[in-house]
Amino acid sequence: MLTIHDIVEKLGLDVKAQGDLQKDVAGCYISDLLSDVMANSKDHDLWVTLQTHPNVVAVAVIKGISGVIITNNRTPEAETVKKAEMEKVTILTSPHSTFDIAGRLYQLLMSGSDK
């Protein structure tokens, strides 16, 4: 199984807040609606979103999200980074769109472990 660290390397992501980078990534959930993530994401999912506000961290903790990727060149709010560091939630950023990140992640996760 791929870890957050593998994905950071393969997709060239920026680490804005570092949690446990050795966490496994079981799947991926894409949504910008926190209630939707609360309802439908699964444990050890990687969460792709363009939301940057601090509530993202709370949802990630509750749902056991392995890491959050913020897309489209957005920067997490300072408060979000602070909270994420406190809660040991990994926050990553990418200049690419959600669609492109999703497409590449899908290929990575479907091809399974190629560590």
Partner: protein
């Protein structure tokens, strides 16, 4: 053809929280501009700016009005609301900054792109606000002889 040129205008009442009616003004403006033969890129800019302005009133204010006026020289949109006003305009103009409540975010709005989106699509943009009273927004998109091909 020049003799046919005239001013076309419209005025809409906007109610805070009335998501169901959101977009009516921008949709009408879009139809008007298309019927005038304004190029698609300009139609899009004007309707996006108008739509975001409409949403701002619906999200933040108690009530407001959107008025548009199309002349051969420009598309003019002004939006006035009775709302909380904006405390820090510079901050409000930053991409990603939003004071929208969580329930608005859950409806797909309030990601802090509204005002930047309006500014980006306008040729001239003016924002005035008094905290506790309301906000006035003025948007101008200029037209030239070529792109105002009124064929009515």
């Amino acid at each position: 053809m020049a003799s046919n040129r005239r001013t076309i205008e419209g005025c809409f009442q906007l109610m805070g929280g009335a998501f169901a009616g959101a977009g009516a003004a921008s949709s009408e403006l879009k139809t008007v501009l298309m019927s005038l033969g304004v190029p698609q890129g300009i139609v899009r800019r004007a309707s996006i700016a108008a739509f975001e302005a409409e949403m701002n009133v619906i999200i933040h204010a108690v009530a407001g009005t959107l008025h548009y006026e199309v002349t051969p020289a420009k598309i003019h949109i002004d939006v006035t609301d009775m709302g909380p006003g904006i405390e820090d305009i510079d901050l409000a103009m930053q991409e990603g900054y939003s004071t929208a409540p969580d329930w608005v975010r859950e409806m797909g709005w309030g990601a802090g792109m509204g005002l930047p989106n309006i500014k980006r699509n306008a040729d001239a943009f003016k924002l005035d606000s008094v905290v506790g009273e309301g906000t006035t927004l003025e948007i101008n998109i200029f037209l030239t002889e070529e792109n105002y091909a009124d064929n009515t």
